[in-house]
Amino acid sequence: MRKLLKNEGVQAFIASILCILAGLLIGFIVLLCINPQGAGESILDIIKNFFTWSRPASQLKQFGNTLAKAMPLVLCSLSILFAYKVGLFNIGAAGQYVAGACASLYAALAWGWGWLPCMLLAMAAAALLGAIIGILKAYCNVNEVISGIMLNWIALYTTNAVLTHVKEQASPYTLYLSKENPSALLPTLGLENLFSGNKNVTIAVPLAILAAVLVWIILSKTRLGYELKATGNNRNAARYAGMAENRNIILTLVISAALAGLGASLLYQTGYMRWECTQSSVPTMGFNGIAAAFLGGLHPIGAIFSSFFIQHITDGGQYVNTTFYSPQISDVISSVIIYLCSFVLFIKLAMRRMLAQKDEKKGAK
């Protein structure tokens, strides 16, 4: 038991579970403060999400919807964690995600491209934004958080302007992909049969898992990953050891951004969501990616599970009793979780100290 507790991975897992529990508890307290009557029921609805439906078939269908939205989140959290492992905080992932949405939707609707070229273009567009942040960071010493936020807003307004050309006449939403250009929809590979015919479950699921595995391999098994992490740890030491530190910084942000762009393509090319051209705030997907990345213990495989969890409670927020509460309660819970995740290091340290003290006592006896 004690040996198990000393394991780094187990410690991270315990810390994440603690964060989740505390986050849910605080969410519950907030609900209680607003209205004590329905609080217990509503927090259960958030946790249950699609299980609130009674028929198994509709449960499966809603499960498919959550899964479809969780996959882009996996990519966003991979984007964040990839950069973070290299010592960069890519808050610009939100904007890179927007750029990806812009490129894939425009290529699909205006030029009638197939799904793969659209996806690649989304990655390229996002990577371009990442490269700007990287170049500014490497050559001009601009803090990547601030340039990232600025680019988020620039990307949002550009996307609104560009996608206005392919929007419906009567509404601010872009045209239906399924009507205009079905070839841009991601293939489902028969996956929809597993989810009571939910066509939103597509090749995105295996692709996202593949991406997570790839990121894991790159970071922990390759020379490139080693060099990137070394640059993140100490830029000057990396240069001294003969690594091209500027190139590494830019490359990191390009890869990280391409992941976020892929995430957007995995959502918008399922046809599940359409872009609203009058949107006045950056979509929260990229920011939720931060929560998922840290909740997953900054491990690519952990990110898959934590992303699903975050999306699960975000969707669960739709089921709260809206006569008293608003769905944004889920955002409160996930942001509390992010806040608590910043103490993970502290929790781990406390656990280690406790174990060491016990060992010492044992030794004294």
């Binding site: 600025m150 302007a161 008293f324 944004q328 992010i338 806040y339 995740c341 910043s342």
Partner: protein
């Protein structure tokens, strides 16, 4: 033209207040990326007061609303203080969490309040038409806002605090070399708390100023549109010095004001650019300016590094 000056001054006041907050916090050694969230909470605090003080004199209204915003901001900044000063958390992450939390919590709160008042209208908006009239004085079409002199006063006070007072000089020492400061008996934890709390105060005021800038109804779902980060850019462009921050706030305020008023200039309208371009302008200018000014940065040396009394 008058409108452009008016909007430039009011947006500059917002940026100035918030940037000064960030400046003091960073001089004490804590990077405050949660300013955006602090602004939202400050705005909420002020808006609640403005709503409940339906009939009161201008003086009471202005003072109480400002006080509420400042207090709300300070209270919220404690989240950063606890995490960054005592628990040695990653300050970037804490700030981000605070920004997300503020918008989400404010939305939930305002919606709950509005639903309680009228179950058919679950909106996240607060209206303060009457209160806004008390904050502005109309001089021949120019809307003078009481926040303008407050912002100027803030620059002077912050300058005196940082460079002429004993407390301020000690606070700055903690951002440059906390171990050295501690070795001569300065309490680094206390100084950093003062820095964080003042940034909360100024950030909260800035938030209230932002929602009073042009409208008299605010939708809390929207947050403050990256203004907290623009303020940080203003601070960097101002090289962490109050007077320079004031000048750069004016510059950024001008570009933000253009997006509100470009339709009033025949020259700009004739360019026939889409409105989105003007919306983007402040952010683009910010990137360009940062590219040229960040290299020779005069940032406090120990900012962002949790203080550990054990290291020398």
């Amino acid at each position: 033209m008058l409108l452009l000056i008016q909007y430039t001054l009011i947006f500059a006041s917002v940026l100035l207040l918030v940037a000064l907050g960030g400046c003091i916090s960073e001089h004490s050694g804590v990077i405050n990326l949660g300013l955006e969230g602090i602004m939202v909470v400050g705005a909420l605090g002020g808006a609640l007061v403005m709503r409940s003080l339906a009939t009161s004199s201008a003086l009471v209204m202005v003072l109480v609303a400002m006080l509420a915003a400042a207090l709300a901001g300070m209270l919220y900044s404690c989240l950063l203080g606890v995490a960054a000063i005592h628990l040695k958390a990653d300050q970037t992450l804490v700030g981000t969490a605070m920004n997300l939390l503020a918008t989400a919590a404010a939305t939930v709160f305002v919606k709950a309040m509005n639903t309680a008042a009228n179950p058919d209208k679950p909106s996240s908006e607060i209206e303060y038409v009457y209160a806004r009239k008390l904050f502005v004085v109309n001089i021949n079409g120019f809307e003078f806002n009481w926040f303008m002199p407050v912002a100027i006063l803030a620059v002077v006070l912050v300058y005196i605090f940082l460079y002429k007072s004993r407390l301020g000089l000690r606070l700055m020492a903690c951002g440059e070399h906390p171990q050295a400061a501690a070795s001569v008996g300065i309490n680094v934890f206390k100084m950093r708390w003062i820095g964080v709390l003042i940034s909360g105060l100024l950030g909260g005021l800035g938030g209230l100023c932002y929602i009073l800038a042009g409208v008299s109804i605010w939708k809390f779902e929207n947050g403050v549109a990256g203004f907290g980060f623009l303020a940080l850019a203003v601070m960097i462009f101002g090289q962490w010095k109050p007077a320079r921050i004031a000048v750069s706030a004016l510059l950024f305020g001008l570009f933000r004001a253009l997006s509100n008023t470009y339709t009033g200039f025949p020259f700009l309208v004739s360019l026939n650019l889409p409105g989105n371009v003007y919306n983007m302008m402040p952010y683009i200018v910010c990137l360009i300016v940062l590219a040229f000014t960040s290299r020779a940065s005069l940032a406090p040396k120990a900012e962002g590094i949790p203080y550990d009394p054990g290291t020398r």
